[in-house]
């Protein structure tokens, strides 16, 4: 026995022990993993081969019978060919080359080979071996083994070289190649005496492979997990510190690249117009802001389908539109994951490996999805934060604008909360009531005089609820203010705001106007009385002494005087109704209609106009000034009679409305052209219509009706067709106290429409 043989024996035993322990570790770690299973088979085959070699040596030394040698050679053949197949299976598994049912196919190939060897043994096929002079066992493999080897060994070699980048472990690449080379050496001519070298080399390669697999499957994942946790920690930090959106995005881009050992990354954010490139890492920064509308780009598709996509080779595998300029020319492996917050895709994270860079795998996709989840939260929070800040700024701006407006207006403005504590008073209000600057939160009653508050709170609240505003008059330091109350807050009242208008001057003007109307009317009435009285005396004096023409002239003068009297009375009536206090009687609709109609029966009879009325409900009652309402109704009926030709009719009716009473006066008169309809309620307006020249009137009757309606918080309108007739409607609220504001409104309106 030579020295080298003993070395070989020892070495083989050692390698076997190491390989066996590695096998145990790998299987213990995860026996169900395909890679581990193939690895186990590979090691088993290598062991078979080694054991065969070992036994061959031993048998030669012991000069064992030929039959034993044959068995050993069979074992060697099995081990040699089996390990060639197994290394191929292992490699194919490593580079991810897997057909359907690859595993059963591979195992059945192996089984077939074992059966073949067994058959060979049983049949006692001739075996080519020799024992050298030095006692070494020399063996020449069978032709079929060589064929198997050539088939699997060369494919393995090719796959390893082709996918060396994908394998990502130099140890594995070197080990596999070394193994294939070792087996090749075993195929060389036995005469070269290098069979043992082949076995040794292969054993060494097997131990290298074992170590590399151990490293790849156990050691590296462990250290990577630590790195992942650290990366996750950094991302979480970026999230919780709630920094600006740009920083968060940048952080995510950097982390993603570092984590996946990639070359660059990009983050797209969803906007109403499509995806916008928000940040890049290791890509040209001028791309930022690019907008992709298309769903056909990779990022677009990911955003659309909410599914991660892994493209091994962008140029080769991606057929859609390219995501960035020059992407096709520069991108290698690409992973794209959606960033989902809630149920919405808020963006897309894309991690890119250059064409010479690393190839990603499925695990990387899962990792990136993990990061994507965190990133989405971070981005969403940053966006919310940014939006909230923008909103705060906006609110602040609006607030300061409002404050400026309130500070610059001369109208005092006061806002209070639900418990009547001061929220805000503008400088005018502070000056008017002497409110100190630090009064915010104090009770309103301590800050302003009692007469500045609404006299009837319940009524004020009712008005606010019904018409969203309440208006009342207050007097402060001999000045009169009109106070407009309005509600603060959304659906629920949070307070009230009061805006004061100084109407002192308006009130004074109004008073002067009323005074003037009274004076003028009075001064006109005396001459009128004198003229009328004297005309009557003159008529008596001239009775039966006067010509027909003179009689007509006197009649004309009398008629004109009478007309002047009507105008004066109309003016005074209107003034009285607009400015006077109105009573709150319980009015029975039927009484008012009856008395108005009674008053005009004579006139209707003279004009040969039939006048009648109908009231649906005799008990219809409402609150109002019965005298005023009767006047209004009389004016409407009188109007109807005047403009209705003999033979026509005027009909008065009353119907209950929604919270109102509607009085209708329908005539069959000449009607009112549409262009005049909007003006007939104006004071002194008399429509210049054909056929009305002979009809006398003051032009004040309808404006009085309107004033009465407004005084009661009601309204008046009409429907009319020229030649057919008109219907006037007077609507008055039922059983509702008249809002006191109405009278003031009327007063102010009077000022804006001076007589």
């Amino acid at each position: 026995m030579s020295f080298s043989n003993s070395i070989t024996l020892m070495f083989n035993g050692l390698i076997l022990a190491i390989a066996f322990s590695f096998l145990l570790i790998a299987l213990w770690q995860d026996a169900r993993k395909t890679l581990n299973q193939f690895f186990a088979v590979f090691l088993l085959m290598v062991m078979v081969w080694n054991i065969g070699s070992l036994m061959a040596q031993v048998f030669v030394l012991l000069a064992a019978p030929v039959s034993s040698i044959s068995l050993v050679v069979g074992i060697i053949d099995l081990g040699f060919t089996g390990s060639a197949i197994a290394i191929y299976m292992l490699t194919a598994s490593l580079v991810g080359l897997s057909a359907r049912h690859f595993r059963p196919l591979a195992f059945s190939a192996l089984g077939l080979m074992v059966v073949y060897q067994a058959v060979l043994l049983l049949r006692g096929a001739p075996i080519a071996y020799d024992v050298s002079e030095s006692g070494a066992f020399v063996y020449q493999p069978q032709a079929l083994s060589v064929l198997f080897y050539l088939l699997f060994g060369s494919t393995t070699f090719f796959l390893t070289w082709r996918y060396r980048r994908k394998i990502r472990s130099k140890g594995l690449v070197v080990g596999i190649m070394l193994f294939v080379i070792g087996q090749t050496i075993g195929l060389l001519n036995a005469e070269l005496r290098i069979v043992s070298l082949s076995v040794n080399l292969s054993s060494l390669a097997a131990s290298i492979i074992s170590f590399a697999i151990l490293r790849k499957e156990i050691i590296t994942p462990l250290s990577e997990r630590v790195a992942q946790i650290e990366a996750m920690h950094r991302v979480s930090l970026a999230i919780t510190s709630q920094i600006a959106l740009d920083t968060v995005l940048n952080q995510i881009a950097v982390q993603a690249v570092g984590w996946l050992d990639a070359d660059g990354s990009a983050i797209f954010l969803t906007t109403p117009e499509g995806l916008r490139l928000a940040t890049v890492y290791n890509l040209p920064r001028q791309f930022i802001g690019l907008q992709t509308r298309s769903d056909r780009s990779l990022a677009g598709q990911v955003a659309n389908t909410n599914q991660s996509v892994y493209v091994e080779n962008y140029r080769r595998d991606w057929n859609g539109e390219h995501d960035l300029p020059l992407a096709r020319e520069t991108f290698g492996s690409v992973i794209c994951v959606p960033l989902v917050y809630g149920s919405a895709v808020i963006g897309v994270l894309m991690v890119i490996s250059g064409q010479q860079g690393r190839l990603f795998n499925r695990d990387d996709v899962h990792l990136l999805e993990l990061l994507g989840g965190q990133a989405a939260v971070a981005i969403a929070h940053s966006q919310l934060f940014a939006e909230q800040e923008a909103l705060t700024t906006e609110v602040e701006t609006a607030r300061s604008q409002l404050e400026t407006v309130l500070a610059s207006t001369e109208n005092p403005v006061i806002a209070v909360d639900r418990r009547l504590r001061l929220l805000m008073a503008n400088p005018s209000a502070k000056q008017l009531f002497g409110i100190p600057d630090d009064a915010s939160g104090k009770a309103l009653s301590d800050l302003i005089p009692a007469n500045a508050l609404p006299s009837d709170f319940r009524e004020a609240l009712r008005n606010l609820r019904r018409s969203r505003t309440h208006i009342y008059e207050i007097q402060v330091d001999s000045r009169v203010y009109l106070c407009h109350l309005a509600r603060l807050g959304g659906p629920r009242t949070t307070g009230w705001v009061a805006v004061l208008n100084d109407i002192t001057q308006l009130k004074e003007l109004d008073r002067l106007k009323s005074e003037m109307v009274r004076m003028t009317s009075h001064d006109l009435k005396n001459p009128l009385q004198a003229a009328m009285a004297n005309l009557e005396l003159l008529r008596d004096d001239l009775r039966e002494k006067v010509t027909q023409e003179a009689e007509e002239s006197i009649a004309a003068v009398a008629k004109q005087l009478e007309r002047m009297n009507r105008i004066i009375n109309g003016t005074l009536d209107l003034e009285r109704i607009r400015t006077g206090a109105i009573r709150s009687d319980v009015c029975r609709a039927v009484d008012i209609v009856e008395s108005a109609v009674d008053e005009l029966r004579q006139m209707a009879a003279e004009g040969q106009v039939s006048l009648n009325y109908s009231v649906t409900d005799d008990n219809l009652e409402f609150l109002g000034d019965s005298e005023q309402i009767k006047r209004a109704l009389v004016n409407l009926v009188e109007n109807g009679i005047k403009f209705t030709a003999p033979g026509g009719s005027v009909h008065v009716s009353v119907e209950p409305g929604v919270n109102s009473v509607i009085m209708m006066v329908r005539d069959t008169g000449i009607g009112i052209p549409p262009e005049l309809q909007s003006r007939i309620f104006e004071r002194f307006f008399r429509g210049q219509q054909a056929g009305t020249e002979h009809i006398s009137g003051s032009g004040l009757g309808l404006s009085l009706v309107k004033a009465v309606a407004e005084n009661h918080g009601g309204s008046v309108w009409l429907e009319s067709q020229p030649g057919i007739g008109s219907t006037f409607y007077l609507s008055l609220p039922t059983l509702i106290k008249r809002p006191p504001a109405a009278a003031k409104h009327a007063a102010i309106e009077t000022l804006s429409n001076p007589v």
């Binding site: 009274r518 009317s521 005396n526 009385q529 004198a530 009285a533 009557e536 005396l537 005087l561 009285r576």
Partner: protein, 236 residues
């Protein structure tokens, strides 16, 4: 019948005067309040017609009050200044029996004068016994009214109103009937007359005008005189 007309406007004064003379009235004309008051004392007219707004220190209302201090002579206001019902009520409160608004037709003016005079005369010809419960004593014959033993002064219209109510004691007298009987059928639409006079009367005869016991209001219908249980012996 003698009529005193006080008006600062000569054209009106003269026209009214001429008309009344044609109707066989005796007429005295004055141009201001003070003159008018003097003429009242000097001429002892049967009826006075007063303008309200007049130059000089004395307006028609004042003249009317001064007349009422001494006499029951019927007074008629004839004014251009009647903007609101309050103006009319103020005139009636001053003691006027009648408030006419200018301009008024001469025939109507004469008719009103005659109605007012008729009212006073009818009041005198009443022959009822009167009423006495110890607190309120009404002597229709002598036209005297005593409250709690003191004689009080009523204008002719007030007295007439009280007489009509007493005549219908216990029954409601509708407003229009009241207007017709007290003032005359020309006044049938002047609904504020009874209101003013009733409150005037209550002030004079009721123990508490705010809670009347003699003259009760029947809402929207009219008024009713209610006799009280006698509380003798408190006789004049």
């Amino acid at each position: 019948m003698k009529v005193l007309i006080v008006d600062d406007e000569p054209a009106i004064r003269d026209a009214l005067g001429r008309k009344l003379r044609r109707e066989n009235f005796e007429v005295v004309l004055c141009g201001d309040g003070l003159d008018g008051l003097r003429a009242f004392h000097a001429e002892r007219p049967d009826i006075v017609v007063l303008d309200i707004v007049m130059p000089g220190g004395m307006d028609g209302l004042t003249v009317c009050r001064r007349i009422r201090e001494v006499a029951d002579t019927p007074v008629m206001m004839l004014s251009a200044q009647a903007i609101t019902e309050d103006d009319i009520i103020e005139g009636l409160n001053a003691g006027a029996d009648e408030y006419l608004i200018k301009p008024i037709g001469l025939n109507e003016f004469v008719a009103r004068i005659q109605a007012l005079l008729r009212r006073v005369q009818i009041g005198m010809s009443e022959t009822e016994q009167g009423y006495n419960d110890g607190y309120l004593n009404i002597d229709l014959h002598r036209r005297h009214v005593y409250v709690d033993g003191r004689r009080i002064h009523l204008t002719p219209t007030e007295f007439k109103l009280l007489a009509v109510l007493l005549e219908n004691a216990g029954r409601v007298v509708p407003q229009r009937l009241l207007l017709e009987q007290v003032w005359g059928h020309e006044y049938i639409d002047d609904v504020y007359y009874p209101r003013v006079y009733i409150s005037q009367l209550r002030r004079k005869i009721e123990p508490d005008a705010a809670n009347p016991t003699y003259i009760l209001t029947e809402h929207r219908v009219g008024y009713r005189f209610e006799k009280q249980t006698p509380a003798f012996p408190k006789v004049d």
